[in-house]
Subunit: 348 residues, 2 copies
């Protein structure tokens, strides 16, 4: 366990690049004073941004790279260009043990492909999954995965996602037996695709798994706080999380319109400013930025491409917390100690 | 075109039954004074509810039925029991030309199966789709389909959903060439499943279709008002719409908490009551209740199982408006006149 996590940052990924990545790193120092950074990318641009954040000069390295993986690159193209790219170099630093986590705001498919080839999946896991924490009305956030790393999945992938998600919840949310559900279009056993019924049967049969399988959950119940982990294929998970984000933003826009539509409403809005601020924090996607790739022998965190400096700060916070908690080793030992036999039994 | 639409109501469907179905019908008289109802179900219970709504006594018929299709019934079971059920009888009334629309708050899969067998699909359409209007920040609502009638689809189904959705938008939103998109996990051409790429290629090639195909749309852009129609398979569509509904409710709950967390916030909330009311109307799922099955030779509207009397009123409003607009004939003639050749060309 480290108290001074070393974060390898792909400074070129995302819509903006070094400007927000460096600014986000500077902001993250408040919560993690011992954090150390290595920035990968255009040295001149990174240096110019660093000059605006004097406090960051300590414990910072720059590794120059000319190659940037574009947002449009296919995973196969990204893999070919990985070696000298800012994204590939950041992941290579994790592989070499020179960094505790890599962080990128770049192309998700490319990041996934490069990370999978460089770090390989944990024993017992066929495919890594992109996971994130979503806010709920309950006491805890909910862990959701996969959010888009695997467009098409089979029942065995879903079972593995459930087990990894539960291990993640155990570490992050400190819940011994996380309540774990599969995302479906109905809660009854006979609803959904064959893949989902198959995965549910395996999870139901595997009663030695260190999780409580609660069956299917519908997308309108995600935020209720009744489960700790929601496993789903990457297509449905991506649709669900983007629908949640888009609606939260839509509603926030409506609120702004509604509460400023008349003088009286405007006055009410001003009076409620502390409440409005709380609302903004909960609803701002930057506040929840930072998806973790689970199932790899190394920690890789995805920041939203459109994140601002606060968003990058929060994604760095996720990477730092996971590094301090030594999540990769904990998930690996979880997978090794308890459920392997149960997963195999359930898979039969 | 009728100005006195006749609505066949399955009084037994939904979580509550006759109480909300009759109360919703009574409320709908305000907007549609000439509307006529036939209620199918337990005559004694319906009569007892009607006695509470004297104004409704005019233009109301009751057809007794003992059989109710349960929420758990599989489509195959529902079909076997359809003949004497309140749901089956309501749809039979549409088939017989005795009603202009059937409305039920019951089991969606059962409703779809019974409607498909009784009314059959329009020529050129393989599968009906459940569609609904969703609010946006733009000038118009967006038509979205399929929302759960078809768990698994192929590219041809998606093309047909796009064509039907565009015809629906033409009638309901009065847009000559609706901007039509496919729901996907990225907006770039290479994103998503083979099915989606195939459907996109067909729609792109079919430039004589009376719609503007705008490519892929991600779930966080649904409410932006940039497209008029979003076509998707029933699994993804159901995940998306439920994630939208659940988040809207989640945020509404947060607002309530936030604006009543302190005296000052509470005062602000009270002052902004007109704005809060506007917000509630836009966010209340009852306000948007009423999904239309498109692609059938007859009009069938699904009300949410948990809808209250206001929700049922709104679903009846959708049924009445569609009946007055003669949507079924208009979509059929749209399909017949323009795009058939184009669809076939595109499908090749």
């Amino acid at each position: 366990m480290t108290q001074s996590p070393r974060i390898a940052i792909d400074a070129m990924g995302g819509d903006v690049g070094p400007e927000v990545m460096v600014a986000g790193a500077a902001l993250s120092r408040a919560a993690f004073p011992e954090i150390r950074f290595t920035f990968f990318g255009d040295e001149a641009r990174i240096r110019s941004e660093l000059s605006k954040h004097k406090a960051l000069a300590r414990n910072v390295e720059i590794i120059h790279s000319d190659e940037v993986i574009s947002g449009e690159a296919k995973p196969s193209q990204a893999l070919r260009r990985s070696k000298d790219s800012s994204m590939g170099l950041a992941i290579a630093a994790v592989k070499a043990g020179e960094a505790d986590a890599a962080l990128s705001g770049g192309n998700t498919g490319a990041l996934m492909a490069i990370a999978k080839v460089a770090l390989r999946t944990m024993e017992g896991i066929d495919r890594p999954a992109l996971s994130a924490l979503m806010p709920t009305l309950g006491d805890n956030d909910v862990v959701m995965l996969d959010l888009g790393a695997n467009t098409e999945c089979d029942a065995e992938n879903l079972v593995q996602f459930a087990v990894m998600g539960a291990a993640y919840a155990r570490v992050v949310l400190d819940i011994e037996r996380p309540r774990t559900a599969l995302l479906n279009i109905g809660s009854e056993d006979e609803k959904g695709t064959g893949m989902l019924k198959d995965a549910a049967a395996r999870l139901r049969a595997a009663d030695t798994l260190p999780l409580d399988f609660t069956g299917f959950i519908e997308a309108d119940r995600l935020s209720r706080g009744h489960v700790d982990v929601v496993a789903t294929d990457g297509f449905s998970g991506n649709i669900a999380i983007k629908a949640v984000e888009g609606t939260a933003r839509f509603v926030a826009d409506l609120i702004r319109q509604a509460f400023t539509s008349s003088l009286r409403s405007k006055a009410g809005f001003m009076l409620s400013r502390p409440a409005a601020k709380l609302l903004k924090n909960t609803l701002d996607p930057n506040f929840h930025n930072g998806g973790v790739f689970l199932g790899l022998n190394g920690l890789v965190v995805k920041s939203h491409g459109g994140a601002d400096a606060n968003g990058v700060r929060n994604a760095i916070g996720v990477a730092a917390k996971m590094a301090i908690a030594d999540i990769t080793r904990k998930i690996a030992s979880d997978l090794e100690n308890f459920p392997k036999q149960a997963i195999e039994d359930a898979a039969e």
